[in-house]
Amino acid sequence: MFIAIAFFAAIVMLFTRRNSILKSLNCLALITVGLTAFYLVYQVFTAGPVSSFQGLLYWDALSAFMLSVIVFISGYVILFSFHYMEADIEEGKVSRQRLKWYYFYIWLFIGTMLLVVSTPNLGILWVGIEGTTLATTLLVGFYRQKQSVEAAWKYIILCTVGISFALLGTLLLYAASGQIHGYSLATLDWRVLDSLAKNLDSGLLKLAFLFALVGYGTKIGLVPMHPWLPDAHSQAPSPVSAMLSGVLLNCAMYAVVRWHILIRQSVLGPEFSGQFLVAFGIISLGVMVAFILLQKDVKRLLAYSSVEHMGILALGFGLNNAVAVWGATLHLLLHALTKANLFVVTGRIVQKTGTRQILKIRGVISLWPYTGLLLLLGLLAITGTPPFGTFRSKLGILIGVFQSGRAVLGFLMVLFLTVIFAGFLYHFSSMLFGKPSERINGGENIKTLWLAIPVLIVLAVGFFVPEFLDNALLQVVHVVMGGVGNAEPIARLFAVPTGF
């Protein structure tokens, strides 16, 4: 339903050139997509999985959770785009005729992401993920500069090659399951695969998972498949960077988690796929320490930080531990909120100062107090400083690490996180508090503060996890840990407090 609306909205955007009409169309599309998605999410979390179109679309707790993240962040980013693109047009970076194309690509992008989380079929999932790459390539290259062509080229080439490995993995899985269930569309449906899982050929399954992990891992930006990511995320217009880092990476992560759930149910057991996720996770986290410390470009800094957080997520989902999975799920949501917020705020700053060099941005707080405040909140949230919600989610993952007896892993994670915290503090404090350049005029409207909504949510989750969110998280943990058909309720194995 909302997938159709999103694609329809994309096409409608092309019919007009007037900015005001474009804005109202966007709002209309956002409201309809938001309402239909909200209704569906509500149904899933209160009454269980929903399927439609004869089972071609299917949502369980995990899909519904992803769906709400996508819709929320997309709405936030599109509302911000109005102002941002207007400023770009005034500066002459983008011509007014191309504005409609911007919204066209954005809505295609949203539509493909909605498709990714709405299909129960691993084959269509692949088509959708490749679709997101294609929809975003021209957004990455939206500014007509040399660097954006370079970034877009690297992006599409590396991601397409990478993701074709995931196709090969899907194919091998299809070969394995088709032997038992016959070759049909339903054979790649994970509701069917779940019941077949125990009988699948383990050798083929191993090979298939590794190909899928490398393939989707490229899209997530796990080290060593990450080199495209900072280029693409830093060259795209800032609202697009926010979408790429905030939701697209999560969609790719979602694909890996779906595979992980399947492999957990098979004869290979819960440890096989988990160990690879944990390994890729900790390596990504570790390698990013150096990149973040030495970074000179603020948008690249944020892009590398996304790789770091995807590493944390991979680690959390990979552990065979309910607390860790709980933490990872919460962290997925909070990282999306925080990173979208940070890209939006730095986007504003970069637009105002005209530079992405950290050393050239000085005294944001005295020039633009509200933007400065937002940046400060974002800094504290992204590094997981208490009392922000990210502290709670990272702590959840850490508790999981130690509960599963991997002390060395836990120490390494704390060490890396601490150094990254220091790096962020160093870079951001110079941007926030330095002596401002006299050529730049400060001053801004208090309305800017609406941009703080996501980061305020992150802050609130740090103090208490509301009943419905806790409930939703538990259901997601249940899906990840227990597969699809398994209906045994998991008791609250963990004592993560929901209040003080």
């Binding site: 692949w126 088509v127 970034a151 397409t160 074709s164 194919l171």
Partner: protein
């Protein structure tokens, strides 16, 4: 046609696919590589056509038409258009020249035979060569991505990888379900279009298709 003739014809086509894949690897002019690609795509469609005549399923005929339309007609036309705009015909040999890249491709073919050994239980023994050649095509594609630095040849590399996976799927499972197959073709089509657009912008901005010029993003 008897089943036997069809089988031998399929075998022949599979080797023709390998040969045209090698043709792309060994080409020293972009134009030539593109011609090899067209031949390659036609062979691939012919291979599916035989299967379609054999199974008489409408889905397989649909795949033949889509594959011929996108891979053998549209993509060569699109890339040919880009080549006309570019000044050079050079494929951008980076590490290996024509002869040595053929040797490398030969080694990769042997490797493909080696790694497809475990998959043998899944298919009829007559298709043994087919599966190995599907993986060789995948390897040729990856090889092209590494040893050639002109953007269009890299596009051909991606397309070869895709063909290799397609062929493997065709032999292992008689092709993916039609909905997914069409989805993949659609993705390939759009990817080719976008790559074409980017290549044109590359010619405009850098006056060349050499990806080495694009080196400003680091760190």
């Amino acid at each position: 046609m008897s089943i036997n003739t069809m089988d031998s014809l399929q075998q022949l086509l599979i080797f023709a696919l390998a040969a045209s894949g090698l043709g792309i690897v060994s080409s020293s002019k972009i134009r030539k590589a593109l011609n090899w690609w067209t031949i390659h795509a036609v062979f691939l469609s012919a291979l599916i056509l035989i299967e379609a005549l054999h199974s008489k399923e409408w889905e397989t005929f649909l795949v033949v038409i889509v594959s011929l339309g996108i891979k053998a007609i549209f993509i060569p036309w699109l890339l040919g258009n880009v080549i006309k705009n570019s000044h050079t015909q050079w494929v951008g040999e980076l590490f290996l020249t024509r002869v040595s890249s053929l040797v490398a491709a030969g080694v990769l073919t042997l490797l493909a035979y080696l790694i497809t050994q475990p998959l043998m239980s899944l298919i009829e023994p007559t298709m043994r060569n087919g599966l190995a050649i599907a993986f060789s095509l995948l390897f040729y594609g990856l090889l092209l991505m590494i040893i050639r630095k002109v953007a269009l040849v890299q596009v051909l590399g991606i397309l070869l990888i895709d063909n290799g996976i397609f062929l493997a799927g065709f032999l292992l499972t008689q092709g993916m379900p039609i909905l997914i197959e069409l989805g993949i073709f659609f993705d390939v089509l759009i990817a080719a279009l976008i790559l074409g657009v980017l290549a044109k912008r590359m010619i405009r901005d850098y006056d060349s298709l050499n990806v080495d010029h694009m080196n400003s993003l680091k760190g």
